[in-house]
Subunit: 277 residues, 2 copies
């Protein structure tokens, strides 16, 4: 099987590395020649191309590992160059908008299996790609009405081979709702936390692990995440509002010095968080 990976950065590079130990031919496609040279030198891909047109016809599976807008553009520019029957997947962190934009191509002779590998690092580029990133992580597939079981099973199998622990199949709307909580809200909080530092003191002298843990993801790829936030605006705003309600409940208990209520909220959080491994 010939597998193409478009955009071999942090995520695409990890797709390639994680699939390397299986008997697939891995084709890297990237517009950056240095990245391709690195991928070949490090034996991350078998073949490297800057021009997709010359190779797409060979590929049975194509993972497009680009930002949302670039993913849409790549499909639009190359829809006529894919192999007949090819399966195309993506890695975009919001699903409704990407599906809406690409459904015009659903009648073409390719099949889209939309997916979201919930994994990453606060780094950019192929040099940070490493299999460890996917280990025990979650993978989500959001099927459309055009999907076949075969294609979904294939992407699901490849995800498991890459090291993902759970592959969940839910609708695009469900995905965007839950991800606004588990991933987008966490990034919003980290940003607001760091930005709310009044810098009256040398913060680094007074932090413990908790501050470091909560703010690591404030080092964020602004081009990607501003796009993701805006494309999921409805769910994300609702989720932030829900969070604020719970934050205000804690604030209120502190204001009233209501130790019992504070303890109750803490026990609830401890119990819930304890269930997550």
């Amino acid at each position: 099987m010939n597998i193409g990976i478009v955009g071999i950065g942090l995520i695409g590079g990890t797709y390639a590395k994680a699939l390397r130990k299986y008997p697939y031919n891995i084709y890297g496609i990237d517009n950056n020649e240095e990245t391709l040279a690195y991928a070949i030198k490090e034996n991350i891909v078998d073949y490297a191309y800057t021009n997709p047109k010359s190779v797409l016809k060979e590929l049975d599976v194509v993972f497009i590992c680009l930002y949302p807008e670039d993913t849409i553009k790549f499909v639009r520019d190359n829809i006529n160059h894919f192999k007949r029957g090819a399966i195309i997947s993506d890695v975009v962190g919001v699903k409704r908008t990407i599906i809406d934009n690409l459904e015009v191509y659903f009648e073409d002779d390719v099949e889209f299996v939309f997916a979201h590998p919930i994994a990453g690092r606060e780094k950019i580029g192929i040099t940070y790609a490493q299999e460890e990133i996917f280990k025990d992580a979650n993978f989500v597939i959001t099927p459309t009405k055009k999907n076949t079981d075969e294609a979904i099973n294939l992407i699901s199998t490849l995800a498991k081979q890459m090291g993902f622990k759970n592959v969940s199949i839910i609708t695009d709307t469900q995905h965007d709702e839950i991800i606004s909580f588990t991933s987008q809200l966490t990034h919003v909080l980290a940003l607001a936390l760091v930005n709310s530092d009044d810098e009256k003191f040398d913060t680094s002298l007074f932090i413990g692990d908790s501050y470091k843990d909560l703010t690591r993801i404030a080092m964020i790829n602004e081009k990607l995440w501003s796009e993701l936030f805006i494309k999921n605006k409805d769910h994300l705003i609702r989720t932030i509002n829900r969070f604020e309600k719970h934050l205000d409940e804690i604030k209120d208990a502190i204001s009233k010095k209501d130790k019992d209520h504070l303890e109750e909220l803490m026990v609830k959080a401890t119990t819930r968080r304890g269930r997550i491994k």
Copy 2:
């Protein structure tokens, strides 16, 4: 030098372990016999006592590693049993209230050096004590007008010996202000985040590292932290309000689909966080 550690749980146990490689005699004082037996068996302390009265007279330095109210009670109950000239230190995470409560004893023949080791784990008890917890961590001393340079230097030296990287000397008010941001706010956010999960989905299938990192400290010791929050109410409420202002700024930019402003807020956070090691 004879060093006593009162309360040999997670923090007290780590004090003991971290000071063990120096030529001090380490006395553990705890009301739990099992804890003491473990501390002796594991060679964490040289001597173990359930009754402080019988040993305090021997101790040059006493680290009281108890909760805020218990720290106050321990001093009140034992003020007449300390050695003449002994240096007493504490580990309480808020400083104004503890100093206010203990200043009545400042004229006695002991010296208090109030301190806060900014380190911990989401665990309780001596079995989790390990030197690693203090490695490269921050330590704060909040002097009172009664302190001598000698006593401050001694506690500072012991902190460095325990593995703390930075020892900062600031006022109790400054401490409580900065700690409301670096430590208390982070815990409040983790609690609100976990509690704002509407549990419509099986959250664990849709999380990445970010959710885990941001919520680990939601597993919290409710007796201790509810006390700390309430004792620092004024600063903490102000800090939460400041955070909410910045959270609302992000929410507003998302609502308006203002990508430029979002990117600007992200770049600001990335730059600031990048400065912290």
